[in-house]
Symmetry: C2
Subunit: 108 residues, 2 copies
Amino acid sequence: MDAFTALSDPTRRRIVELLAGGERSAGELGASFDISAPAISQHLKVLKEARLVQVRAEAQRRIYALDAAGLDELEGWVDRIRGFWNERLDVLERRLAAHPETKKRRRP
Amino acid sequence: MDAFTALSDPTRRRIVELLAGGERSAGELGASFDISAPAISQHLKVLKEARLVQVRAEAQRRIYALDAAGLDELEGWVDRIRGFWNERLDVLERRLAAHPETKKRRRP
DNA sequence: TCCGTATTTAAGTCCGGAGCTAATTAAGCG
DNA sequence: CGCTTAATTAGCTCCGGACTTAAATACGGA
């Protein structure tokens, strides 16, 4: 399960936002929503598989915290897209500066 | 439609990756996939609503290009999460430095 | 050991989204 | 005008994912 899919759900995004403010138990997280505990548990499982959160056991409680790995993957993808894009624009700019009269050719 | 939901689909992610290499027509984009033209059109509609792509008409062709707005939204969210998180860790670090005997809490 | 609390697993329902084919719109060209 | 090309809209099916309730697991305390 990739980070994008995991974060496509608003509830899961909210969970990540809550965890950005500090670690919490599954029960504490669930208190912020109107859905059942099992539903929360399943969301946490998805986030865990996407490496967006980590779990640690403390007695019966499961304490959840953010995991950087998932966020890194996300940010990496966005940066890669931006990188290719800007690189392409730079080439275009240089070409326009060097040969202002060049006839434009549409990409195939 | 938000950027996360739009990018939860692998086909749509791929489309964005292709457009990072330069603008293309709907038909050119579709040639990279094994799905029907209407399916591609639907995907492009979703990406457009998420402001991840822009369209421009050229005769019968619709030329698609990346739109920074969607990527900005995405990056903004990630940065906000990281911001809150790091800020919290900084506070924790300062507290530990000032009071080494403070009851410890696991680092995320 | 038995009970209460915290959480997950199991099993089932329901709805939205991704795909298809067929029909529609739009533009260039003989 | 018709014909072709390019793309979107309409209408349908189907599967996965987000819920639910009920049952199972795990732990601490009286």
